[in-house]
């Protein structure tokens, strides 16, 4: 007997990895549930433009995520927006997926929890979220028309989002703790050519200050130790990502950065449990690689269910 809460495959996290896994699982005619705690699309939902997904010349990130979801739902994927609170494998081999809105079972679980932007961890950061501290330029940049803003970080996200902020802001300082960028060459070229962007090298933010909203940053040069102050109305923070793998504590092995060890089939050491996308070791952390991971995991999960459960 099965009921509404029993699934063949449960996918946890609706970024590109989870959505691609959902598409493949649904097309394999597996009864599949995709669980998401925030926004479908994952990190790309907050990205203004995706222009490195093959075959898609240029897409709004949120739209691309929605399109992936609609495509998978067309084949029967079910999506639920809720927090997953616990994941266990029972003695009969089925997984129990506990959420804030009920418990589901699944024969196989594909974990695609993705990664979240790191916080700076400096005074003022938590106090000013929504008041000038932002982790999403596409959400918030428009509120800083003709004002001075700062972006922290030196990777693709920092430059991409920083370039987006220049559409509104009068000036964008890019504050980076090193003297060279990690971002892809094409983004570096665009950033250096943008007259509104100014780079502040070898520098970290030590505090975010203001009365009712962000007014200024305290900075420190990491080479000279010199402290300084910079007046800005907003600070956009993109200083790397940490995988959301807390749910897998005690279930699977992880590296020092808390990425899950998997083989080339996205299999963890636990039968029927897969990890794909930003949560796995050695991920290239691209939309296209995450989608590839998700497809691989779903194909393998389909085979696993046939082998382990005989259908």
């Amino acid at each position: 007997m099965t009921n509404d809460s029993d699934y063949d495959i449960a996918i946890i996290g609706a970024g590109p990895a989870g959505l691609a896994a959902g598409l493949y699982a649904a097309r394999a005619r597996r009864k599949t549930l995709l669980l998401e705690r925030e926004v479908t699309g994952g990190q790309i939902a907050l990205t203004s433009t995706v222009e490195n997904y093959p075959g898609i010349d240029e897409a709004n990130g949120f739209e691309l995520g929605q399109q992936m979801q609609r495509q998978a739902e067309k084949y029967g994927l079910q999506v639920a927006l809720t927090d997953v609170t616990a994941l266990d494998q029972r003695e009969d081999g089925l997984y129990s997926v506990q959420t804030k809105d009920g418990v589901y079972t699944a024969k196989s679980v594909i974990y695609t929890g993705g990664a979240d932007y790191n916080k700076l961890g400096v005074p003022g950061e938590a106090d000013f979220i929504g008041k000038g501290v932002s982790y999403c330029a596409t959400c918030d940049a428009a509120f800083f028309q003709d004002q001075v803003c700062a972006v922290v970080g030196g990777g693709d996200a920092a430059l991409d989002e920083g370039l987006f902020v220049t559409r509104y802001a009068s000036k964008v300082y890019v504050i980076h703790r090193r003297d060279e960028l990690r971002a892809s060459r094409i983004l570096q070229e665009r950033a250096f050519a943008n007259a509104k962007m100014e780079f502040v090298w070898d520098t970290v933010v030590t505090a975010i200050e203001g009365a009712a909203a962000v007014e200024r940053l305290s900075l420190q040069n990491v080479k000279t130790g010199a402290a300084s102050s910079l007046d800005v109305a907003a600070i956009f923070i993109f200083i790397g990502l940490s995988p959301n793998t807390g749910l897998l504590d005690g279930l699977v092995k992880m590296d020092a950065g808390r990425h899950v060890y998997v083989n080339e089939w996205m299999e963890t050491e636990v039968p029927g449990l897969y990890a794909a996308g930003d949560v796995r070791v050695n991920s290239a952390r691209q939309v296209v690689t995450a989608a590839g991971d998700g497809a691989t995991a779903a194909i393998r999960a389909d085979h696993y269910i046939t082998d382990a459960f005989g259908a």
């Binding site: 699309g41 939902a45 990130g61 927090d83 979220i129 929504g130 918030d140 509120f143």
Partner: protein, 107 residues
Amino acid sequence: MAKPKDVTDSDFEQVVLKADKPVLVDFWAPWCGPCRMVAPVVEELADDYAGKVEFVKLNTDDNPDTAVKYGIRSIPTLLVFKEGESVGQIVGFRPKSDLAARLDAVL
């Protein structure tokens, strides 16, 4: 399903501040992807809280005065008003159960 009605800079005082019931205001803009995720959740809440709480939405592009007055610098933002005062703020998308819990806490 109850569609929250639009409020503007000109009728905000009448509809929200002078309301005899608590009012939840969904600050949004057409360019904001996550705002489009919040909208259907707010519609469901509007059904669940029918008669107890009014639900309205305000387009921050068309109504900058109200957005500035309440210091909105990130959307989606939900503000709950009681007797003309803002008593609760939620920034960013949250699942329905979270929003309901936050709403219950300020009612």
